[in-house]
């Protein structure tokens, strides 16, 4: 069981600006990746960072893991400044960068973990025991002595996870950890995060997967253009955007026109199958809408609350495929 003093992560007015252009002088326009980020992650919390590509999620993780220096502001991990006390930060933190790279393909999974474990100060029986336990934990025991280059993307991601945990960190930074995993492996991963929470480890996880964020995170921070837009529980965040229910029903066109004018009814859209969705903007309007529909003889009515995915699309939906500079 890990004992931590709160907060595990403390970020204040953190800025990171990348110089633009090429060459040593880099005279191109600057790119602001983090623009005054404030964030607190409590000890033992599983915290999600949710945002589109280029939002600043990975930059924040890199600064917290000491591999990138901030341009301004302050960041502390378990009370240690990431710029001035890198040794203490590195001892207490594990990081999992997503993607195919970041492992030694020509070495086996076991050799990879032994190498990284040794760099965390483990040796001898302790190292062997830790590596075996982790291989078990991520379901790679039977492939432990196969070269990593022969692994699928999902299996590589499991090795990444094991590598992040090999130092027995109090804080684990997971940057897109389920990228490439199949649904079964992703489900196992969520169970693993649950175990980490039970061990009172702090987990900061960046993800695009809304289901994952809803299922594993205690709190979620929405980040875009280098700024934290909101930090809430997944449920609270859902209510934060479209605080109220929406109503779906098979409604005659003339009735749609009438209901559209009701106070508190926001957008109204009709899908190809004739189902109309009323988005409400005030509390209690959904109930009023249902009553009006039933009185008009409409019996196929459903109400629902937005998922975190819809919240995400609400906030970032305008971006499309664009990646911010």
């Amino acid at each position: 069981m890990i004992k931590q003093v709160a907060p595990a992560v403390e970020v204040t007015a953190l800025r990171r600006v990348f110089a633009g252009g090429k060459g040593l002088r880099k005279r191109g326009p600057e790119h602001v990746a983090l623009d005054g980020v404030d964030l607190v992650v409590d000890a033992g919390e599983v915290h999600g960072l949710l945002g589109p590509n280029g939002a600043g999620k990975t930059t924040l993780c890199k600064i917290l893991s000491t591999v990138l220096l901030p341009s301004g502001g302050m960041a502390k991990v378990l009370g240690h400044d990431v710029v001035t006390h890198t040794a203490q930060v590195r001892t207490s933190m594990g990081i999992v960068f997503g993607g195919e790279r970041g492992l030694y393909g020509r070495l086996t999974a076991r050799q990879n973990l032994k190498f990284w474990g040794a760099l965390h100060g483990l040796h001898g029986k302790q190292l062997r025991t830790r590596v075996d336990a982790l291989l078990d934990r991520v379901g790679l025991r039977d492939r432990a002595d196969d070269r990593v280059e022969a692994f699928s993307r999902g299996m590589k991601q499991r090795v990444h996870l094991a590598r992040g945990m090999v130092g027995d960190p109090a804080l684990l930074l997971l940057d897109e950890p389920t990228t490439g995993m199949d649904p079964v492996a992703a489900k196992d991963f969520r169970a693993l995060v649950g175990e980490l929470r039970a061990e009172r480890r702090t987990v900061l996880i960046t993800t695009h997967d809304m289901v994952e964020a809803e299922q594993v995170c205690d709190r979620v921070s929405l980040i875009d253009s280098g700024r934290i837009l909101a930090t809430e529980s997944p449920n609270a965040l859902s209510e934060w955007i479209t605080r109220f229910e929406r109503v779906d029903a098979l409604v005659p066109p003339e009735l749609v026109s009438r209901l559209r004018t009701l106070p508190g009814v926001g957008s109204v859209s009709t899908s190809d199958d004739g189902r109309t969705r009323f988005e409400t903007t005030e509390e209690g309007v959904a109930a009023q809408l249902v009553r009006s529909l039933v009185e008009a003889g409409v019996t196929t009515v459903t109400t629902s609350k937005p998922s975190l995915e819809e919240v995400y699309l609400h906030v970032f939906g305008g971006n499309g495929m664009a990646v911010r500079r």
């Binding site: 990348f18 930059t59 591999v67 590195r90 492992l103 020509r106 040794a118 965390h120």
Partner: protein, 255 residues
């Protein structure tokens, strides 16, 4: 010390899985054959030692230039440099351990060239000054390891280190007196050759194969060791500076 040993262990694993990293060792028999054929054609058996030492020194330099020079950059391309920086272990001893293994393996080139001479040319190289030879060889390996650290750090700054690696081969064979003793070179090159450790190494090793007494061995060895020390110090400084620079610029990875 433990991190250095981890570096050694890791590099041994890598070399076992990737023998092409020591490609220059496969070329040593060819180079030895060329030099010995020239020696025989010129009817200069007194140059046999030169012909056998040159391919070894060339391989030592080439492997250090390419394999050691790419040690950090390869980590960056592989996406592992960030994770290496984020661990508690220090990079310098880890890199040193890896370099030590590569340089030690590359010393096998001298054994290769010796046996090529013996087997294919019936030329047996005797070592009249065995002590001088062994000490000079060890000092050469040390100096090579130290300067390999410099190259590993410097090449991180280059977007394409391969261009520099290709360019730095032959000039150092010349300035290092690897193929031709530096005493044969124009005088104006002396200031340059004097600061290239290979020039002291190659002269000492050649003298160790010559029956004549080795002149000023202590002084020449001291210079070689001082140049090694300078390389080691410069390498350590550059590694620290380069890592800080790439952490600052955000170029620890190419992703």
């Amino acid at each position: 010390m433990r991190t250095l040993l981890i570096g050694c262990w890791y590099q041994l694993l890598v070399l076992r899985r990737s023998p092409a990293d020591l490609m220059a060792l496969f070329v040593v028999p060819v180079n030895t054959t060329v030099f010995l054929a020239i020696m025989q054609h010129a009817d200069r058996p007194d140059l046999a030692g030169h012909a056998v030492l040159a391919p070894g020194l060339m391989a030592l330099w080439a492997i250090s230039l390419v394999t050691c020079g790419e040690l950090i950059d390869a980590e960056r391309w592989g996406g592992t440099l960030e994770a290496l920086v984020a661990v508690p272990a220090r990079m310098l001893p880890l890199l040193t351990g890896r370099i030590v293994v590569v340089v030690t393996a590359s010393l096998f080139a001298f054994v290769e060239s010796y046996f090529v001479a013996l087997v294919f040319f019936d030329v047996s190289i005797s070592v009249p000054h065995l002590g001088v030879f062994v000490v000079s060889m060890l000092a050469t390996g040390l100096a090579m390891a130290c300067w390999a650290g410099v190259m590993a750090s410097v090449f991180v700054l280059a977007r394409s280190a391969r261009i520099f690696q290709n360019a730095l081969g032959f000039p150092f064979f010349v300035l290092g007196g690897v193929i031709v003793p530096v005493s044969y070179l124009p005088d104006w090159l002396r200031p340059l050759t004097n600061v290239v450790f290979l020039s002291w190494s190659s002269d000492l090793l050649r003298d160790a194969l010559n029956p004549a007494p080795v002149q000023d061995f202590g002084f020449r060895l001291l210079v070689l060791l001082l140049l090694a020390l300078a390389g080691g110090g410069l390498g350590a400084y550059l590694l620290s500076a380069v890592l800080r620079r790439v952490r600052s610029l955000g170029t620890l990875t190419y992703a």
